[in-house]
């Protein structure tokens, strides 16, 4: 997202009539220029792009740097092919046009399409390159069309003179079946100084490959790059945390699982909200947020995948789902005075051992006040008791009723 003013130098010399690039060189060049303009204006809305032609009657600036994409595309119509390319003059005029840009905060960049042979000598090009470097202007060279050793050597020398910390690039595109613009999409000219690849480039590359759009998460990085990035980052963090979360899963209760699921949907919403607002610094901060808040999400996900439930889970689910049948069972037992199965005994003792469960049952029994001290004593004594005690206890509450 670098703020940049770009001047594109187009080669419209006679050599561009050649058909070795489909449909012919000039058209391939025009398509590439259109794509570059789109990419630049999209990566930062304040970017400006200008166009000039290097051949014809002389170097002519068609559009001064502007952010209006329509104006730029319109001027590409009706361009005439003819004359000889003047590389040195073209670059110098481009530098002058950039010097008079409206927003002085923009970085300066020149993109040159060198299709025909270069008639200047190496020294002159190196001098021009040094001048560009001194004024911190970056230069991208697209070497296509005429294949000539001297030309390649001169352009490489020019790049070496201009290059300052890899801000300038050169791309050699030989004639072949793939279009010029397709080859350029994967180069640093489009992706721009290794900033992780613009979403535009990725989308265009996917479209060019001819396959189904390979967007992860069903989100077009073109339309909403920050959302796509946030989702991608959270997905990576989930994967990294799943092993750790699986260990925690066995100890957690079902309540947490349900609560976690309810929270996870709201967390997704908050994460995307944050993503749409944030800058790169905010993304660093939000990833820390997501670290914490994802912990619950991880537990939820891991538990939903963790099928064999522990005995605790069984008991918990039994409790949450079937309090009434157990209440009925307890009532039945209070009516029965006969012996009980060892199984039901175990169940009873388990149930009675759970204080909260017992008090909830007692509260639902008519005429029993759980806060009554005698009832509390009973509860305390009931925990490790056998049948006879239970019978006594059941007898006592009815007595209190009578009182």
């Amino acid at each position: 997202m670098v703020l940049e003013a770009t001047m594109i130098c187009i080669d419209n010399s006679e050599w561009m009539r050649n058909g070795d690039y489909a449909p012919f060189r000039f058209q391939a060049q025009a398509d590439a220029v259109n794509l570059i303009c789109g990419a630049k204006t999209q990566s930062n809305p304040e970017n400006t792009v200008g166009i000039l032609t290097m051949a014809g009657k002389g170097v002519r600036v068609l559009v001064t740097p502007t952010s209006d994409l329509g104006k730029i595309l319109a001027c590409m119509h009706g361009l005439e092919i003819g004359g000889e390319m003047n590389l040195a003059a073209g670059i110098q005029v481009a530098q002058l046009a950039l010097k008079h840009r409206q927003n002085k905060k923009q970085q300066q960049r020149i993109i040159v399409f060198a299709g025909s042979t270069v008639k200047h000598d190496k020294k002159l090009l190196e001098m021009i390159g040094r001048k560009l470097k001194k004024n911190s202007v970056a230069l991208d060279i697209v070497n296509f069309g005429e294949e000539d050793e001297a030309k390649t050597e001169k352009l490489e020398a020019l790049l070496a003179a201009v290059n300052n910390n890899d801000t300038s690039h050169i791309v050699h595109v030989p004639a072949g079946p793939s279009a010029l613009s397709d080859v350029l999409i994967s180069t640093p000219i489009f992706t721009g100084d290794g900033e992780g690849g613009s979403g535009f480039a990725a989308a265009a590359a996917a479209a060019a490959a001819g396959g189904v759009s390979g967007f992860d998460f069903g989100v077009d990085p073109n339309l909403d790059p920050e959302l796509a990035l946030a989702l991608r980052v959270s997905m990576e963090e989930e994967r990294a945390r799943q092993e750790a979360a699986a260990k925690k899963a066995s100890g957690d209760a079902a309540k947490q699982e349900k609560g976690g699921e309810g929270q996870s949907s709201s967390q997704d919403a908050t994460m995307t909200d944050r993503a749409s607002v944030g800058t790169s610094e905010a993304e660093n901060k939000s990833s820390d947020f997501m670290d914490d808040e994802n912990a619950l999400l991880q537990q939820a996900l891991a538990m939903s995948m963790d099928e064999p439930a522990s005995s605790d889970d069984i008991r918990d689910t039994d409790m949450s789902e079937a309090t009434d049948p157990e209440l009925a069972l307890a009532l039945q037992m209070s009516v029965q005075e006969g012996g009980k199965d060892s199984g039901s005994e175990k169940d009873m003792s388990k149930l009675l051992a759970d204080q909260s469960f017992v008090s909830s049952i007692l509260a639902s029994l008519p005429g029993v006040d759980p806060n009554d001290p005698s009832v509390k004593d009973l509860l305390a004594s009931m925990q490790n008791q056998s049948e006879p005690d239970q019978k006594k206890n059941e007898d006592k509450p009815p007595k209190e009723e009578e009182k």
Binding site: K104, R130, K134, N165, E195, G196, E281
Partner: protein
């Protein structure tokens, strides 16, 4: 405090005047023809540290800036505590914006050894986006012939009346003392800062058509105003 002066410093505090570096808008400082991008920020420091070219504070700041810009040149900046021009070209242009308008009384420059000190300094005030061709063509507000000053004890006085409302200053160093490059270790400013700030006019409302209700005069009251 070793000022390395040839006079006794008991009476006054030598570093007291050189406080304008606090008012420099460091993130927006830029230079043209610097060998290492961003190294210009290392030359603005406290007067006591003017000879200290390792610049620890500067390193941290620079690492933060570079990290934010996702560039991996940290190793460079750990070593580079001064500003150097490109090989074979001793010209330097330094653009220094301030956070508020300042009045500059004098400037101090510490250069490099072996003929890499700048020999001349030209100043331009309140002009943004000057490049070398502009600087060479324009008349500077003031020019100084510098001498080699490795201790940072010399200061170059300004014509104070011209340096009253300085929002940004651009220093052009066209030549060195014969060296292949120009090295600058420290640039200091002495003066005072005002609280004034220059701001762009933020909101301007334009009218396409005049609204008569805006132009009622007292005498006419309810009627339309009369245009002559």
């Amino acid at each position: 405090m070793a000022c390395l002066h040839d006079h006794s410093c008991e009476d006054h505090d030598c570093s007291s005047g050189w406080t304008l570096y606090e008012h420099i808008d460091l993130p927006k400082v830029s230079a043209l023809n610097e060998a290492v991008p961003g190294s210009v920020k290392s030359v603005f420091k406290a007067w006591e540290q003017r000879l200290n070219s390792s610049g620890l504070k500067f390193k941290r700041l620079l690492i933060e800036i570079q990290f934010r810009n996702k560039k991996a040149h940290w190793s460079y900046f750990l070593l580079q505590g001064h500003l150097e021009s490109n090989e074979g070209d001793p010209e330097l242009l330094v653009y220094i914006p301030f956070t508020s308008d300042v009045k500059i009384k004098s400037i101090s420059v510490v250069g490099g050894v072996d003929g890499t000190s700048p020999s001349k300094m030209r100043a331009f005030i309140n002009k943004e986006g000057i490049d070398f061709s502009d600087a060479q063509g324009m008349q500077a507000v003031q020019e100084w012939d510098l001498v080699e000053n490795f201790q940072g004890t010399l200061e170059y006085q300004t014509r104070y009346s011209k340096f009253q409302n300085v929002a940004s200053i651009t220093l052009h160093f066209p030549n060195s003392f014969g060296g292949d490059t120009t090295k600058i270790e420290y640039i200091g400013f002495k003066g005072e800062a005002t609280k004034l700030k220059r701001d762009v006019v933020a909101t301007i409302v334009y009218e396409l058509r005049p609204n008569p209700s805006d132009h009622k005069t007292k005498a006419e009251g309810g009627g339309l105003s009369h245009v002559e």
